[in-house]
Structure formats: structure tokens, C-alpha cells
């Protein structure tokens, strides 16, 4: 299967991730907001992550807290923030408050002919904030990803 997920740095401080799903926006939106559904997909097993807990109060002004475990880390990792906007089934906006200079994440759900196009915008407060997220890998770069990164660097090095 060809990859349908695209990730692009669209400006100095924004990252945009896109993918389409075979279902109506109402259903996809639900899967992004109900904890028992989020727990089934947000922390991929292939990345060695395990969900320890997931709490969402998916209302404008509500908060969320995701806690993961990973074999490479003794401490569980918590990701949390608050919902700035919750507009079912088309728009979700939340803050990422676990570190300084966290991005504001906006997710839009556009339904067309029974399919839903999901666009995730991560807007960082500054170019430096996104650059340092990249340098530290703090936006979800897990050990496996670093291996993938090494592979890619080698490939790029070989072709340069």
C-alpha cells in the first residue's frame, strides 16, 4: 500500500500532517475525542508505546491528559493541555502544555462523499521553538524513530 500520510513544514513555525479516512467526519471526530477510542490508535504499538491512561474533557476550555509508558524510559510520559476549541464534527484545537514553547494543534475534519480528510496543524510560537522540537525530538520522536532517522541519514549521506 502506498503511504497516504503527508507531513510538511509549511513555514518556519508550522508543521502540517494530512490523511484521509474512509468514514464520515462524525465518526472520525469521535475517534479523536473519546478516550476509549483514542487509546486504540494514538500510541502505536509498533513504536513500543503503551497507553497508561487517557482522560479527555472534549469541550472548549476542557483539558486532556495522556500518559504513556515506553521501555526506553523509566518514568511514564505525560502529555497534557487544554482544548481551545471543540466544534463537532469539523474542528478541534488544543494546547500542548507539557513543555515550554509547545505548539497549538488545530485538527480539521472535512467530509466529502463519505470520506474525511484530516489535517493536523502544529503551530509553534516561534521558528526557534519548532527548530528545537526538531533538535530534541520532543514532538513524538521515540527511540525507534531515531533508528529510522539514522537509516535515512545514511541513505541521504550515500546519495549526496
Amino acid at each position: 500500500m502506498t503511504s497516504r500520510t503527508t507531513v510538511e513544514r509549511t513555514s518556519d513555525r508550522e508543521l502540517v500532517t494530512t490523511r484521509s479516512f474512509d468514514g464520515p467526519a462524525r465518526i472520525v471526530f469521535e475517534a479523536w475525542t473519546r478516550p476509549e477510542l483514542i487509546m486504540r490508535w494514538w500510541a502505536p504499538k509498533s513504536f513500543g508505546m503503551t497507553f497508561l491512561s487517557c482522560e479527555t474533557d472534549a469541550r472548549t476550555g476542557g483539558s486532556y491528559r495522556f500518559v504513556f509508558g515506553h521501555p526506553a524510559s523509566e518514568q511514564p510520559m505525560a502529555f497534557f493541555g487544554r482544548y481551545i476549541e471543540v466544534t463537532p464534527p469539523s474542528r478541534l484545537v488544543w494546547t500542548n502544555d507539557e513543555g515550554e514553547d509547545g505548539a497549538v494543534t488545530t485538527v480539521t475534519f472535512e467530509e466529502d462523499d463519505g470520506k474525511t480528510r484530516v489535517v493536523v496543524h502544529d503551530l509553534y510560537p516561534s521558528k526557534e521553538a519548532l527548530d528545537s522540537a526538531m533538535a530534541s525530538g520532543s514532538t513524538g520522536a521515540w527511540p525507534e524513530q531515531f533508528e529510522a532517522l539514522d537509516d535515512l541519514l545514511t541513505a541521504l549521506g550515500a546519495s549526496a
Binding site: 503511504s3 497516504r4 500520510t5 503527508t6 507531513v7 510538511e8 513544514r9 509549511t10 513555514s11 518556519d12 508543521l15 500532517t17 490523511r19 479516512f21 474512509d22 468514514g23 465518526i27 472520525v28 469521535e30 475517534a31 477510542l37 486504540r40 490508535w41 494514538w42 500510541a43 502505536p44 509498533s46 513504536f47 493536523v120 526538531m134 533538535a135 525530538g137 514532538t139 513524538g140 520522536a141 521515540w142 524513530q145 531515531f146 529510522a148 532517522l149 535515512l152 541519514l153 541521504l156 549521506g157 549526496a160
Partner: protein
């Protein structure tokens, strides 16, 4: 605001600058050496190197009176690799989300 990629493409749009990158791919060189190689004035070569530096393609270091240029591709590679890491993470998530969406659709059909 131009993206970094725009800056990169702009830098690569010029034949001399592409030649400079090719030359630096073989070994580091001073601005004087580059100017000689490409039959240009020092000022002209400094401008080209400045554009390449802006795009993160070349880094320069001044030792005494000599400014040495070298390929600075590393940063771009790191960014590309990080973005690829992100893409893999989201792809893994979204494959699992596909299943959740399928389940919810099936449930709705049964409930109807």
C-alpha cells in the same frame, strides 16, 4: 514569509551556485579559490556564498584572513529525517485509526 525550502530552491536556481556546491562536495575551499575557479570577482563570489549560507547549504568559517566554505547540508538532512520520523509515527497511528473508524461504521450499520 518564504519557507526554508524556497530559500533552498532559490539558492539552487543559479548555475554558479550549483557549481560551488559541487566543488565543495569534493573539498572545502576558500572564497578566493572559489572566485578563481569560477572566474569571478571576490565580491561576486561572496554574494553567491552568502545566498548558499542563508539557505543552510554552505557554512563558512574565518581563520585569520581566509574565509573557508564547506557544505552545510547536515541541517537539511536532519530536518528531512525528523519530518520522516513524524510521518512514520502518524502513519502508524492512522493505520490503527482506520480500524477504529471501520469498527464504528460497522457498529452503526448493525444498530440501524
Amino acid at each position: 514569509m518564504p519557507t526554508r525550502l524556497d530559500a533552498t530552491f532559490a539558492a539552487l536556481s543559479d548555475a554558479t551556485r550549483r557549481g560551488v556546491l559541487e566543488r565543495l562536495g569534493r573539498s572545502d575551499a576558500s572564497i578566493t579559490e572559489l572566485a578563481d575557479t569560477f572566474h569571478m570577482t571576490l565580491t561576486g563570489m561572496k554574494k553567491h556564498v552568502g545566498v548558499l549560507e542563508q539557505a543552510g547549504l554552505v557554512t563558512t568559517r574565518k581563520v585569520g584572513r581566509v574565509r573557508t566554505c564547506r557544505l552545510g547540508l547536515r541541517r537539511l538532512e536532519e530536518e528531512a529525517a525528523w519530518i520522516e520520523g513524524q510521518r512514520r509515527l502518524w502513519e502508524a497511528r492512522f493505520d490503527a485509526l482506520d480500524e477504529v473508524v471501520e469498527d464504528l461504521k460497522r457498529k452503526e450499520t448493525v444498530d440501524d
